[in-house]
Symmetry: C2
Subunit: 160 residues, 2 copies
DNA sequence: TCTGAAATCGTAATCAC
DNA sequence: GTGATTACGATTTCAGA
């Protein structure tokens, strides 16, 4: 699959906001019939543009009321030390996201837990047991102004 | 709906990893038939445990190769200044996530862009036009070790 | 690459148990 | 909760433009 046209991009954008939209609805919005839309979706899936479909849960309702961003600096910055930290930290179930960053800390982790007690358990019994940890700083989320899984696609509106 | 039992929790966990799993597959995994599984999913949706279903796209393939975490400190910390920043920043399309944080910066933004040129445009023409900005620090993502939308649910495995 | 019809498959709703 | 039936809607396939 070589490149996306405007219709592909619009399909992706609609699906990344609502994956339950029916092919018929998509077809109507795009001014097409079901068949080509269905074919395009399948191609987008097979070519890997769509990685997967997931349900987004209500964080509070499933008991993960607390989100923390934990930044980590390692003591040693060899390639193997960086790799080792990454490989081990992502195995901790509370770690939803793990990024290696530029700037004055090495890793940023997003942690989902029930409460402060669970964060303490994460910090003391899980994160701190990893080798080579230098300094750790924690930032708790006070409020979530936006939390979007959809990427900001560039849709050329004149193309309709 | 008052509380989740082990079966509900397992349904949620399976759906937050793969929303395309069929009711039949869920039923088989849970040792039930389609009917009760179908009823439970509907209840979970109606009670708001499942907020929505989305497609997760391939970031590189859709041209958002660069992710930045941008931390912002405001000059003034009145309630109205904080609220105003949050309300305005979330309207910027490149801002996928916006959190108000404890600790030594006020907001953390996750920014998805094509490249450094687009980040510069975001910073110069969008973020910096918001009122009350004190200091801004940017951390670019060098590698994404884990990027999960699923919350770490506690599944009591002994319950099967 | 599209349209439109036909066949297939999954889901939702209903029922007796 | 099971298991069967039904009806509906979505998806896939295919002929044809």
């Amino acid at each position: 699959m070589e490149g996306l046209d405007q219709i592909d991009t619009q399909i992706l954008d609609l699906l990344q906001h609502d994956a339950r939209v029916t092919t018929k609805e998509l077809a109507d919005k795009l001014g097409l019939t079901i068949t080509p839309v269905s074919v395009r979706i399948k191609k987008l899936e097979e070519a890997g543009y769509i990685k997967r479909y997931v349900a987004i849960l209500d964080r509070d309702k499933v008991g993960k009321a607390l989100i923390a961003f934990t930044s980590v600096q390692l003591r040693e910055h060899t390639q193997s030390a960086l790799k080792a930290f990454e490989q081990k930290s992502v195995k901790i179930k509370e770690v939803m996201e793990c990024y290696r960053l530029t700037g004055n800390f090495d890793f940023l982790l997003k942690i989902a837990i029930r409460d402060m007690r669970e964060y303490n358990d994460f910090l003391m019994n899980k994160l701190s047991t990893l080798p080579n940890i230098g300094s750790v700083q924690t930032y708790f989320v006070l409020s979530e102004g936006k939390s979007e899984t959809a990427y900001p696609l560039d849709i050329n509106l004149s193309a309709r």
